[in-house]
């Protein structure tokens, strides 16, 4: 049994769980969302701060959050921030898609370490259907907030244009 358990609770996951990266709520931010896993009650409040680089592309400048939840949901949020902060939104969205694909692959998807880095540790989660929602909670919140922030930004751009 422990093999299966160990494939779920990879050391990397437990490390992120014990000392989550980028935790806490910070300023500035363009969008804040609150997501809940209705089944178990896990919650996350998450803020996104975007900026524009020289080429005019949106960059994820900061993602800050306050999360209550299990090891998987907390670690996934932590890994997610590592993956998206500092990246162009378009590239971060690709990581999001790759992670989603990994989770929905029922254990048959081979994760790409280039794209997912520490996120590859979650490959084992895909074999535990009940935990997939845990791993996705932070990612879904991030995507929602980023979409909102992008809209805000573009409205502002239009207004000032």
């Amino acid at each position: 049994m422990s093999t299966d358990l160990d494939s779920l609770y990879q050391e990397i996951i437990l490390d992120h769980y014990r000392s989550p990266h980028h935790a806490g709520l910070r300023e500035p931010f363009e969008a804040q969302v609150h997501h809940v896993n209705p089944t178990c009650g896990d919650e996350i409040t998450l803020r996104v701060h975007l900026s524009t680089d020289a080429a005019g592309d949106d960059i994820v400048s900061d993602v800050s959050y306050d999360a209550q939840g299990c090891s998987i949901s907390q670690a996934a949020a932590s890994v997610m921030t590592d993956l998206v902060i500092g990246k162009p939104v378009a590239e971060a969205m690709k990581a999001h898609e790759a992670f989603l694909e990994l989770m929905q692959g029922r254990g048959s998807v081979e994760p790409d370490e280039e794209v997912l880095e520490d996120g590859v540790a979650f490959a084992g989660v895909a074999k535990f259907p009940a935990r997939i929602k845990c791993a996705l909670l932070g990612w879904m919140a991030w995507k929602d907030a980023t979409v909102q922030a992008t809209v805000v930004e573009h409205v502002e751009t239009e207004e000032t244009a």
């Binding site: 809940v36 209705p38 089944t39 535990f128 259907p129 009940a130 935990r131």
Partner: protein, 423 residues
């Protein structure tokens, strides 16, 4: 006189019948069961029964909320059933498939949430709901309750003498005041197949919502929610070879999102505090409490069973049997068929009168020979009234019905006439 081949009849009917254990049942007097009451409820193939038993004996657990292995297996089977149903009706999204307890609840769900809706979907004085005179009570009473409670008007399409919808006054009925048009795809009494797509098109021109009762269509026609162009569609598990206790409401996402919740409770919430709750998205928003888990799983097996045979082939079979039945009835003096005489215009439920014998007595005599039909108003009192009859006898076939069973019915009617000394 027994015919074993008719064009359109399902191949391998004898083998297919072996899927249905009840068809071996022998009744009083050792008569074999001749089940001609499938429009009332269908019989169940072994695969549906076995799927439910296997789940109960090996995998039973609550869904969604249970994270253990049994819970995961149960949730997976339950949600797979939703996928199967979505495929069965060609739903654009599985999240548009809501499990209810039967078709009646599905129709009430729409009417009740409209009663509490605010904004563009709200219904009030001056607004109109249009139904038809051939509806089952389950597609009449919810709209009567809605319009009465909200001070709106209830109108309806009448019927032609030959059992079709009278569409001659469609422009008077479907006007900008019309908020909802609710109609049956196939009548459970007259058998009539209605031009649902055409009526949906007209209703949409005035911005009305189209609610279709597919309780009799889903068992015997290919049902495609996209092609039919409707907004909501309801059907019931027990008529598509599935169990009782389960029905389906399909609705377009944009509309489901605008409707308030139906019943409140576990599973339909996002978060709850004592003062205030927020709600999950469809389908969960409309599925309060522990869902009919075993029943959904049984329904999934049922729609897969039907799809494997093919709804086109089932439809052809029903039309062949119905044609044969109509011919047979024509040979019995004193029989008047209600509804279209042309099998192509109708489904496999044929209601009729036998001069001089009350439908109860007809059904009783047939039952004494093992032939099960329904007698009464079939939950369609207004349609009976329209044709000046208080009740009728209804023989309804399904994919397992053989021409020999129709022969047994016709012989039974001859016996009935002799017994009651009529004709």
């Amino acid at each position: 006189m027994t015919v074993t081949q008719l064009p359109g009849l399902l191949d391998g009917l004898a083998i297919l019948r072996a899927d249905f254990p009840i068809l071996n049942r022998r009744l009083a007097g050792d008569w074999p069961l001749v089940y001609l009451d499938s429009a009332n409820t269908s019989q169940k193939p072994q695969i549906v029964i076995d799927t439910m038993v296997d789940h109960l004996e090996r995998r039973n657990a609550n869904v969604a909320r249970a994270m253990h292995q049994l819970g995961a297996e149960s949730s997976e089977a339950f949600e797979a059933a939703r996928d199967k149903v979505a495929r069965f009706i060609n739903a654009p999204s599985r999240d548009e498939v809501i499990f209810t307890k039967n078709a009646s609840e599905a129709l009430n769900l729409v009417a009740n949430t409209l009663a509490w809706a605010e904004g563009p979907l709200a219904i009030g004085p001056g607004d109109r709901v249009v139904i038809t005179e051939m509806e089952h009570h389950s597609n009449i009473v919810p709209w009567q309750l809605l319009t009465e409670r909200k001070g709106a008007d209830l109108r309806w399409f009448g019927l032609t003498d030959d059992g079709h919808l009278d569409l001659s006054n469609i422009d008077e009925l479907i006007t900008p005041a019309t908020k909802v048009v609710a109609l049956t795809w196939v009548s459970n009494m007259l058998g009539t197949i209605n031009p649902v797509a055409e009526i949906a098109r007209r209703a949409h021109e005035v911005g009305a919502i189209v609610v279709v009762d597919a309780s009799q269509a889903a068992p015997q026609l290919p049902v495609d929610v996209v092609a039919s162009g409707v907004d909501f569609l309801a059907f019931t598990g027990h008529k598509v070879t599935g169990p009782t206790g389960i029905g389906v409401l399909w609705g377009r996402t944009e509309l489901l999102d605008q409707l308030p919740p139906f019943l409140g409770g576990g599973e339909m919430i996002e978060t709850v505090t004592m003062a205030k709750s927020t709600f999950a998205k469809a389908p969960h928003k409309f599925e309060a409490g522990t869902p009919p888990i075993i029943e959904a799983i049984g329904l999934g097996a049922a729609v897969d069973y039907l799809s494997e045979i093919g709804l086109d082939r089932i439809h052809a079979h029903e039309q062949a049997i119905t044609g044969y039945l109509l011919e047979g009835l024509a040979t019995v003096g004193g029989v008047t068929v209600l509804g279209p005489r042309n099998p192509v215009e109708r489904g496999g439920a044929v209601a009729f009168e036998l001069a001089g014998v009350h439908p109860h007595d007809v059904a009783q005599l047939l039952d004494s020979r093992g032939v099960a039909v329904r007698a009464g108003h079939h939950c369609a009192k207004p349609a009976h009234l329209r044709y000046g009859v208080q009740s009728s006898t209804r023989a309804s076939s399904y994919l397992y019905t053989t021409p020999a069973e129709i022969d047994a019915l016709i012989e039974g009617l001859a016996f009935t006439k002799t017994y009651f000394k009529v004709g």
